[in-house]
């Protein structure tokens, strides 16, 4: 029998996970055969209310019991407890890395949870941007990538600064992948809400299935930066 596309599941465990950006709620979502690649996510809906929307939760681990994801305080899942019913579809999206890739992770405290899935399986260096010289330091590292890949997750204003400085310095941004934080309402390329502008496709390119980590050079930060989400420091209730 074909497995149901939408999986009815439950929260197995809720713990707290402290990262440079604060404390997040870490959930284990029941799944018998949990497989994923870093960068993929679950579209997950908590069923606490009759009207509830799904949201995208990046998967950072899979155990014999299920997927592990982080939730921030603005997300419905963050108010769930062990035993609560959820439903999900996924893993969705694609992974920008393969096993063994050496990674440079570039984030700021507010967005560290977005690169967190890449910290658990690949050799990596994590650069958390703080202070005035942070952008220049990040561009220096990116310029010296060589065989590494860079994974970037930034709030829109920081991204705009980095992009502008990078263009001024003619940073190539090859092997760089950017978290495209456009709202993913469906996760299946149906709502068209997460589309990015593209120089080659007038209709644009889909971020929820082709991303959410997209080649930096495919993203027009100037045109699409206004569509990106802001992330804040977290302190979820324990």
């Amino acid at each position: 029998m074909k497995e149901s596309f939408v999986v009815h599941s439950q929260v197995l465990a809720r713990e707290c996970q402290t990262l440079p950006g604060g404390t997040y709620a870490e959930y284990t979502i029941a799944c018998g055969n949990a497989l994923f690649k870093p960068g993929q996510y679950l579209m997950l809906r908590a069923l606490k209310h009759a009207v509830s929307w799904p949201d995208a939760y990046l998967i950072h681990a899979a155990t014999g019991q299920g997927f592990k994801v982080l939730a921030h305080q603005g997300q419905e899942l963050a108010r769930c407890a062990a035993g609560d019913r959820v439903e999900y579809w996924g893993p969705r999206g694609s992974s920008p890395v393969t096993s063994g890739d050496a990674l440079l992770l570039v984030a700021q405290p507010e967005t560290v949870q977005l690169v967190y899935p890449f910290t658990l399986g690949n050799p990596h260096e994590c650069l958390v941007l703080t202070g005035e010289a942070a952008i220049a330091r990040a561009l220096d590292k990116i310029a010296a990538l060589q065989n590494k890949k860079a994974i970037l997750a930034l709030n829109p204003d920081t991204l705009a600064q980095l992009d502008e400085a990078g263009r001024a310095r003619q940073t190539p941004f090859a092997n760089c992948f950017l978290y495209v934080s456009n709202k993913k309402a469906c996760g299946i390329n149906a709502c068209k809400g997460c589309y990015l502008h593209s120089p080659t496709r007038h209709f644009g390119i889909n971020a929820c299935c082709q991303g959410p980590f997209m080649p930096y050079t495919a993203v027009d930060v100037t045109q699409d930066g206004n569509c990106f989400e802001y992330f804040s420091l977290q302190e979820v209730a324990t």
């Binding site: 579809w89 309402a185 149906a190 209709f203 699409d224």
Partner: protein
């Protein structure tokens, strides 16, 4: 139990739907995206995202904000090329067993007529749904539906352009003169009328002090929070209509569907629920069958328009 819905047309054979459930344009992609999530052939009909004659590009603004009990959307004109849809997607939809309806929009009436005329020759399409929310993108042109004479001109023009192809007219917004607009649609050759469209709405992120969606700081608000309002609209439209009515607005459960049928709708469109879960319409169909059995309803025809004080 009889779930079928028969929609008479003004120029040809009746359109028969297996059941009253179909998606609302803008919430179900081009149908094909849902092929793994639910059996498309179970649906009463498939209504596509809105198309213009020219391929659109993504809006430069945030397009989607999920509010309590609904969402504010502002997708802009990001439709794929209709030729690509006709060539690559439509053949993969179950058009032989499930009517496929293309929702269309345009920047002016000439473009709308040209586009409707082109689509009128596509045999796989069961009908064309014209969104009265036209013209898009040109604020200098008043909305056609606001003045009776321009509405009549639009309706006559698209009717002529559509030839024998069934023509559905979709409400321009949530607030319009229900009786006048649906009567004008029927009098000028429309085959069915979709009773509801999004209400204007906006939301602000208090931390960043930015609007949550839309190039102009807002968009269309849709979802279950609007259902009582949309239900009243459906009732008013059905009471005045001489043609079948397709109701829409905040349907998330079987009782919502039955309410719309009870106030006179022939069939219904599902919007927000598709964005809560991709298999929402399959669940609605299961729930509808179960609920009708619980309530002892053998056929939707027996309850249509029977709500009483």
């Amino acid at each position: 139990m009889k779930l079928t819905v028969t929609l008479p047309t003004q120029n040809g054979p009746d359109m028969v739907l297996k059941n009253p459930i179909m998606p609302a344009a803008g919430t179900f992609g081009y149908g094909i995206e849902y092929i793994d999530a639910l059996p498309l052939s179970r649906l009463g009909a498939i209504v596509t995202n809105s198309f213009a004659i020219a391929e659109g590009s993504p809006s430069p603004a945030k397009r989607f904000y999920q509010a309590d009990y609904g969402f504010v959307s502002s997708f802009g004109p990001n439709n794929m090329c209709y030729k690509q849809f006709l060539k690559e997607i439509l053949p993969r939809l179950p058009h032989e067993t499930t009517p496929v309806i293309m929702d269309v929009k345009a920047f002016d009436l000439n473009e709308l007529a040209e586009f409707v005329h082109i689509l009128s020759h596509v045999k796989e399409l069961a009908a064309i749904e014209v969104n009265l929310n036209c013209p898009y993108g040109n604020m200098a042109i008043p909305a056609y539906w606001k003045a009776p004479e321009t509405l009549e001109m639009l309706l006559k023009t698209v009717r002529q352009a559509a030839g024998q192809k069934p023509l559905w007219i979709k409400a321009p917004t949530a607030e319009y003169p229900y009786a006048e607009v649906v009567r004008a649609a029927g009098d000028n050759g429309a085959d069915a009328f979709v009773t509801f469209n999004a209400l204007g709405g906006c939301a602000v992120d208090v931390a960043t002090r930015r609007y949550q969606s839309g190039s102009f700081g807002g968009g269309g608000y849709s979802g279950p929070g609007l259902k009582p309002y949309a239900l009243a609209a459906a009732r008013a439209v059905a009471a005045a209509a001489q043609i079948p009515t397709i109701a829409a607005g905040g349907i998330v459960c079987a009782d919502d569907i039955l309410e719309y049928i009870l106030v006179g709708a022939d069939a219904i469109q599902v919007g927000a629920a598709n964005l809560m879960a991709p298999d929402a319409m399959a669940r609605l169909l299961d729930d509808l069958e179960r609920r009708m059995e619980e309530l002892g309803i053998d056929s939707l025809d027996e309850i249509r328009g029977t709500a009483r004080v």
